[in-house]
Symmetry: C2
Subunit: 261 residues, 2 copies
DNA sequence: CGGAGAATGGCATCTAGTGTCACAGTAGAT
DNA sequence: ATCTACTGTGACACTAGATGCCATTCTCCG
C-alpha cells in the first residue's frame, strides 16, 4: 500500500501535496477509531490526526458517524438513479441487480467496509446507523416495486421482496466480511438472490422470463455530465472495479468465480 | 381523559400523589415533543414539565430518545422470553405468533405509539431509532429460526422469513397507525402473515400443518416471579389488554373483527 | 424511633454539533 | 498583472445531550 493513503477508492480529490482530502480524513479517522475505540476518540483528535480543523470536519462530513458512512451516500444515490431509470418490465430482476450494485459497492472498498464492520459490531450507535442505511435501500426497493400504488397486496408483496432481498444481501455480505481475503462470493450472492426472489416474487413478475443473473456492466451517471467525464469514470470503474466517494460509479464484471456450489 | 394522566397502559407505578412515575414523564415528554417539536424541546423543559430533575430524567431513561421508546424494552424482553420458551415443532408459526405479540404491543398503547409515529416520520433521528428497534426483533426472529446453525441455506431462509415477517408486520401496522380510531385490523395482519410465510417458510417447516391463526392468550413471565404476581399481572393484562412498561405482559383475544376481506 | 439502602437533586464537566466572522486560496474579468 | 467575487478554511463562542460525583431526601424495615 502507498504511504499516506488517499489514492484508493476512497475519494481522492487532489490529495497529492496540498490539503488533506476526504480520503485522508476518513483513513485517519478509521485508524483512530480502530486503535483507540470509537467513543474514546474525540473529534479534536480526528481533526489533529487528519491535519484539518475541527470545524472543517463537521462542515465536510456533518457528524462523527458520517465520517465512517461517507461513501454510502454516493452509492445510494447511484442505486436510486438506477432504479429511476430502469425499465419496469421485470421489476424483481431490477431490484436484484440494484442489490448487486450495493454488494459491489461494499466489496470494492474493503479498506473502509472491513474495519467499519468491526466497529459496527462493537458500537451500538454505529450498528443502528448501519441498519438505518440498509433500511434506506430497502425503502427504495419497496418504493420502486410499489410503483405508485399505496395499498393492496402489490405493496405488501413488494415490501416482502425488498426485505428478503436486503436480508439475502446482508447474509452473503456478512459471510464475506468475516473473511474478506477470500474471493468475492458472487455465486453465493446470485444463488441467495435467486432463492429469496423465486417464491415471493411471483406476484410482481408479470412479463419476461426468469432471466438468469445479469452479467453486464451497469453504469449510471448524473445527466449533466460531460462525455469526457463519463468516459473517464467508466474506464476508472472498469480498472479499479470500485466506486469512489466523490463521484458515483459502479463497475463489475459479474462472472461467478466462486467455487463453493 | 383524566387530568394529569398516568393511569393508562403506560406504566403507572403509584403515580397517584407522590412523585411522578414513568408514565407521567413519558406523557409530558410526548406532549412537549408534539406541541413544540422534538429538537426544539430541551431536556430541561421535559424535566420541568414532568416535575422531576434533569438528572433523574437521564438516570431513569438513559437518553432523550429512550423516553419515547421506553416501553419497547419490556415488550422486546417479553418476545425474547417467548421465543426462548417456545417449542420448536413449528418455528414459522412461533415467529408469526411473536410478531403478533409485537403488533399487540403497538395497538394496545395508542397514546404512545400514535404520536410517536408522527414524530418518527418527521425526525430522521427518531426514524432511525424506530428502524433499529424493528431490526432487533428481526434479529431475534432470525436467531430463533437459525437455531444454532451459523451457515447454510437454513440460516438464509430464516433471515428471509424474519425479514418478510417484519415487513408484513410493519405494513399492517402503518396502515393502522394512519387511522388508529378504526378497529385493529387483526384479519389483515393474519392474512399478511399467511401470505409472506406461505411460500418462503417451506424450508423451515418440517412438522405440523399450517395451523391457522392462534387465538389463545399467550403470557410469558420471568421464572423468578411469585404466584400472586403472576395472577395479578395476568388479570391486569386481561383487563387492560396492554403491557405496562415496568412489567412485561401481553394480552390479546385475537378474534378477527375486521370487515375488509 | 433510627439506621441502611435506594432514589433524587444539584453541580461540574465533557463532547458533539451549530452559528458567526475573519482570512486565505482561486478563478475570472478588465 | 491587479482587482474582484467566490469558495473553502480556521478560530471563537455557544447550545444541549450525556456522565460522574456527592450531598440530601425518601422509604422500607427492624
Amino acid at each position: 500500500m502507498r504511504s499516506g493513503g488517499g489514492d484508493g477508492a476512497v475519494g481522492d480529490d487532489r490529495a497529492r501535496g496540498g490539503r488533506p482530502g476526504r480520503g485522508d480524513v476518513v483513513a485517519a479517522a478509521v485508524r483512530l477509531f480502530t486503535e483507540e475505540g470509537y467513543e474514546a476518540t474525540t473529534m479534536d483528535a480526528v481533526a489533529a490526526a487528519a491535519g484539518v480543523s475541527r470545524r472543517s470536519l463537521f462542515r465536510n462530513f456533518g457528524s462523527k458517524e458520517d465520517i465512517l458512512f461517507a461513501e454510502h451516500d454516493g452509492l445510494f444515490a447511484t442505486v436510486e438513479r438506477y432504479l429511476a431509470a430502469a425499465p419496469g418490465d421485470d421489476p424483481v430482476a431490477t431490484v436484484r441487480a440494484a442489490a448487486r450494485m450495493v454488494f459491489q459497492g461494499y466489496v470494492s472498498a474493503p479498506e473502509i467496509t472491513v474495519p467499519r464492520y468491526r466497529l459496527v459490531r462493537a458500537v451500538p450507535r454505529l450498528r443502528d446507523r448501519e441498519i438505518a442505511m440498509t433500511a434506506r435501500y430497502q425503502a427504495a426497493f419497496s418504493r420502486y416495486l410499489a410503483r405508485g400504488e399505496t395499498e393492496g397486496d402489490r405493496v405488501l408483496a413488494g415490501e416482502a421482496v425488498a426485505a428478503s432481498v436486503i436480508a439475502a444481501h446482508n447474509h452473503v455480505l456478512r459471510s464475506w466480511l468475516h473473511a474478506p481475503d477470500r474471493p468475492v462470493p458472487w455465486a453465493r450472492f446470485d444463488r441467495a438472490m435467486e432463492y429469496v426472489t423465486a417464491s415471493l416474487g411471483g406476484v410482481l413478475r408479470e412479463a419476461g422470463g426468469g432471466a438468469g443473473p445479469a452479467s453486464v456492466l451497469v453504469a449510471v451517471y448524473p445527466s449533466g455530465l460531460g462525455g469526457d467525464d463519463v468516459l473517464r469514470r467508466v474506464r476508472a470503474a472498469l480498472e479499479t472495479a470500485g466506486p469512489d466517494a466523490a463521484g458515483p460509479a459502479a463497475g463489475n464484471e459479474g462472472t461467478p468465480e466462486d467455487g463453493d456450489w
